[in-house]
Structure formats: C-alpha cells, structure tokens
Assembly symmetry: C2
Homo-oligomer: 350 residues x 2
DNA sequence: TTGAAAGCGCTAACAG
DNA sequence: CTGTTAGCGCTTTCAA
C-alpha cells in the first residue's frame, strides 16, 4: 500500500502539501501543484490510511451499534437504515455488534468499541440494568439509546431516540377493544426490559380505561439466559398452547414483537384455532414478512427511516459539537391494519 | 482516556515493560513488577488503544463482511454466526456492510475497509462481475467468497467457502419430481448472480435427467436496479400471479430463497390456490420464520454453523500465515421436509 | 505557496 | 530484568 510519502515523492512536494490537498485546503497551493498531486494519487492508486489519520485526529469515521441480534429482521432493517443514512450524509460506517441479549457480552463489546476509538455507540440495551451504559458514557463515549425511554429517576445521561412503547401497547390493545374483544392477552418473553415493560404498561392501561372493563392476561414465556432472537418464534408457538388450553381463553392477543406473533399464529393453527375468527392477533415492528403471513398480520409500524435519520444526526451532532447536551426524541408508532384482527364473536365470551 | 504512559508512570516502570506485560511477555520481568503494572492498569481502568497498536503492528482485530442486506434474515443469521465464532475463538470483531446489491456501493465499501486496514473481507458478491474483488485481492486484501463457487476459467484468486448451489437446485427439483410433479417452475429475481445461476442449473439438470421428462418454466421477476432484499417478498407475490393465470400451470415451484417463497405462498393464496394441494412450494435458506409459515415451508437448509466456522478459520489462517494459498470449501445443503410439498394430483396435469 | 518537524499511543529491537 | 529509542502514516502548527 502506498503512503502519503510515496505520493509526495512522486509529485515532488512535501507530505504536508499532499495532506493539504487531501483535506480540501487547496487554496493553499498553486493549481499546478494540486494537479500534480492529484495525478500522483491516481497513478499510485493511493488511499489514505484512516487508522493513521485517526491516531492523529481522534476521529474514526465509524459509528458503533449494539443490537440483540441481526437474525431478527427488525434489527437487521434498522441497521441497514442507519448504515445507509450515515454513509450517504456523512460518509460514516456502522459497526454492528450482536449482544445476544447478554449483559456480559454487551459490556465487553462496549469496551472493544471504546478501545477502537469509536466515539458514538447506538444501543438497544434490551436490559433493565443500564449501569454499564452510564459507565461507558463516563469514559467519554456518547451513547444513543433507542427503543427505550429515559429513566426519569436520574438526570439524562445520554440521548434517547425511541418509538413510544407505551403508546404502542396502548394502540394495539385499543384496536382489539374497538373490535369488541373483552379478554385480551399479551405475549412476551420472560425477563425485564424497559421497552417491553412500557409496552405492557400501555396495554394494561388501555384495558383499564375501557368500559366495560376488559380482562387481561399476561403470558410470559421463559427463555434461556441469553438468546439470539432466533427462538422468538418458538416463544410465540408455546404461548399459543397456553392460550388454546385455557377454557376461558382470550379472543384478542398482542405479541410484543412480530417474530413472536408469527410463531403464535402457527401455534394457534396447530390447535385448530382460526385467525382471526377464533382469536385476533396483533404484532409489533412491521417486519417485511408480516405482509405475507397467513393471515397478513396487523401490526404496529415504527417510523424506521425517520428514527434512523434522527439517530445519525444526533450522533454527528455529538461528534461535531462535543458538549451537546443529551436530549430525548420520541417517535409515534402507527397501527397497520391487515387481516389478523376481526370483531369478537360474542358467543365466545362468558 | 489513560495511555500506556500513564500506567508506566504510576507503576514506576517504562512503557515497554507495560507493553510486555500487556502482550504476555511476562517471563521478562519480576513477578513483583508484573503485579505493580497490573495494579496500575486496574486503578486507571486502562484499555490499550487498538488504533495505535494497529498502526504499529498492521493488525486490527476486525474482519470485514459484505452482504446484500441484513434485512434478509438469512444474511443476518450468517453474520451473527460468523461474529460469534470470530469473537469466541480469536477475539476478532466483524464489520458488516450492506451493499444493497449495488456494484458501486460494493466497490466503495471494499475501499473503505481497505483504508481501515482490514485485512480479510468476507464477501457475498451477489454480482456476476467480480472484477473489483480480484482487484481488491491484488491490493493485498484477502477475500473470502461465500455463496459462490470459483469461476473455473481463472486460477483461483481467493478462497471460496460456499454451499453447493447446484446441488441445492437439484435436490429441490428432485424432491418435487419424487412427489410426482411433472411441471416445475423456478422463481427468481431478474439479474444474474453466480449462485442463482447455479441453483437454476441444478434445477434444470434434475428435470432433464428425469423420465419421463419434466416440463420446467423459469419465472424471472424484474427488480429495481439495486435493492435491499426488503422487496424479495413482493417478487414472490408477483410470481404467484404469473403462475396462477397460467392455464397449464406448474404444480411444483421452487423459490430461489425463503423470502421469495413466503411472498409466493401469500400470492398463491390470493388466487385461491391451496398449498400444497394445488401447488407445492420449496424454499431455500431455512430462515427462522419458515418453521412458522402456513403451511410450514419445506426448504433447503444450509450448514450455517459449519460454514461460519470454516470462514473464520480461513480468515485467521490467512492473517497468521500470509502466503496461504486460496482454497475451496464446498458444503452440502440438506432438504428439510415440512408441509408445503405434497404428491401431485394427476388430474392437474395435461 | 511550500516544507520541516513534532507527535498521536503503541511495539519491538536493542542496550544496559 | 528493565529502559531507551525509533518509528508505524498521518496532520498541523510554524517557519521559510
């Protein structure tokens, strides 16, 4: 690989002039000199070494991102969206790390990113315990949390860019209630995460507000300690069993994400329950396949593009203006009506 | 962030001793010295700066990876698998880039990775034109191609670790033939990629070998120039229309990947065609959701774990032994029988 | 308009 | 056993 020295030698100028040319300080030299440098760069097929540049400037054009698992398309999609805007708007790259929802892995990865000199990390912490995040923030890394509202207890330690989970749960439940369902269930994996807790709260809130009162049951399916989201479908599948054998079973169920909803529908079918005739289902995330499930899944869509844009803008804001204060950006989910929800049959209710 | 200097000062030794301690050359110093260094490291919460280390050693513990899009779970999963083994076995990270199946983006990303000093890039080139890969290889980057067999025309320019696409197509077609289907279709996006071409060849080969001969039709659905795999479902959905309106329609169809198969099944349903009664469907990839589609999708499973392991082993082999010769590692897909294929009804055939 | 020189944090001879 | 030293490739004053 040619270095800036090689270019300088070939163009018969000093390395500093090449550096100036590279960094747009072209007014500082004669047109003729600039052209000679350009020619040498072409000729040697020279590419500046970002690593060396970084050591000097403290800037590596890479954003970090921590997700539970890109095997879950909702994260895969967000990652693509963020990568795309970071690349197009700022020429930054995205280094995505899969945490498998394991605190130890998550902490280790954060440390790795720090030692790579990455200054901003986008995090779906997925864990209720966010001590390691605050710690990283203290080490000088800018954290941008998504999928989680700020913990109101403390002064804001870092940015939050997230969809309103409470509203997500609330809208989903209300859609079911509006269709006459009087017994609702919510399916989620065991283990506490802030966003799931929020969705649940919104769900319950909607049920409590309704007149007449709505019965709710929360179905928590146990999981292995750390999981890469591949088993989300199974979680839904198992929940279906619980629902099916329940003599006074719920007629409307919301799954805390689409992967679970897909497994849930399969499990319901297994028990000869028809969707939506026997039970209505709502998912969350609007992953691409939900358009093609049977029946097409009614789900909560997140404004992925808008969130990705805000996340990247904030990231670069922090990089360009070091002492920018943390802020909060809450996005509104929308209900995407497809065919997995229908009016409750009164005969099904006690 | 503390530097090695800070540690040295606190432990009252020279930076080189700290460096030695850091890099396992502990026999070179007294136990007592080592402990003092350890203590200083702990106390300052010191983490070595990988960037500076890299500039010296030329080694950044990161592997690059180019995929069409992690929004497609088959790539998302592979990425997770590779990241996990790279991390566990060698403490390497994975930098995943989404090419959106666009040659220009793909080339630009390769250059970026090179200028980051990344030495090995795992590539699903997805494009028939692989000139930029050979070029990168010439620039000193080690390429590991997956999902593609070597182009036999040239001397092997880089490693190939891939599932046998020809066999994949062949096995899928044969499964349908064994179930008595006499008119088969293959659905794929327009645009040539080596692996898709191979799958098609295997499919056609199987049909030609059969007695009596099998009728085949290839359905190519046009796509936008570059696409992030999100629209794969739509491709299948459109293909279903073509199949449905065909008066002498195929009774068995293989989709070139699962996302397309899922869209295809939805489209077939739209036309009141039942699966597998009216048409049998086989997918490829075995992405997690295929277990829960309706009906559960029969598909070709790839040995993801084994491939991920080989890919990472080869990557580090090249890093540790610079002049390792390129080699070829072909993996065997297996047919995963679920419920989207049934025996052909003879009444359906002319 | 251009070049010389110092230094980012670390490693690896080599000397002591 | 430990320290001194010379860079890795680049940027950035500062001087010419």
């Amino acid at each position: 690989m040619p270095t800036i020295q090689d270019v300088a030698r070939l163009a018969r100028v000093s390395p500093s002039s090449v550096s100036n040319a590279l960094n747009g300080r072209t007014q500082r030299m004669r047109q003729e000199t600039f052209e000679r440098i350009q020619k040498a760069i072409k000729q040697l097929n020279y590419q500046p070494n970002q690593i060396a540049r970084h050591l000097k400037t403290g800037q590596l054009p890479i954003l970090g991102m921590l997700v539970p698992s890109t095997a879950n398309p909702s994260f895969g999609e967000l990652a693509v969206a963020i990568e795309s805007v970071a690349q197009k708007m700022y020429n930054y790259r995205l280094l995505v790390c899969n945490t498998q929802r394991d605190t130890a892995i998550e902490s280790a990865m954060l440390n790795d990113l720090i030692s790579l000199g990455i200054k901003v990390v986008i995090v779906n912490s997925s864990l209720a315990d966010t001590a390691h995040l605050s710690l990283a923030a203290k080490k000088g890394v800018t954290i941008i949390s998504y999928d989680t509202r700020p913990d109101s207890m403390t002064p804001l330690p870092y940015d939050h860019v997230y969809p309103d989970s409470h509203m997500t749960g609330w809208l989903a439940a209300n859609h079911l209630i509006a269709h006459g369902h009087q017994h609702l269930a919510l399916v989620k994996p065991a283990g506490r995460t802030i966003s799931r807790h929020e969705k649940t709260a919104g769900f319950i809130h909607a049920a409590h507000m309704a007149r007449p009162k709505i019965k709710t049951t929360i179905i928590e399916v146990p999981t292995t300690q750390s999981y890469g989201d591949t088993e989300l479908g199974k979680i839904g599948f198992e929940a279906a069993h619980e629902i099916a054998i329940n003599p006074s079973r719920p007629t409307g169920v919301v799954a805390i994400n689409d992967m679970i909803a897909i497994g849930l529908m399969a499990g319901l079918r297994q028990h000869n329950l028809q969707i939506p005739r026997d039970v209505s289902v709502i998912g969350m995330d609007n992953i691409p396949t939900t358009e093609f499930t049977w029946p097409p899944l009614t789900t909560m869509a997140m404004p992925v593009q808008a969130m990705a844009t805000t996340i990247v803008e904030r990231a670069l804001q922090h990089i360009q203006t070091p002492h920018t204060l943390p802020d909060v950006f809450c996005f509104t989910p929308t209900l995407l009506e497809r065919q997995s929800v229908s009016t409750a049959l009164s005969s099904h209710e006690g």
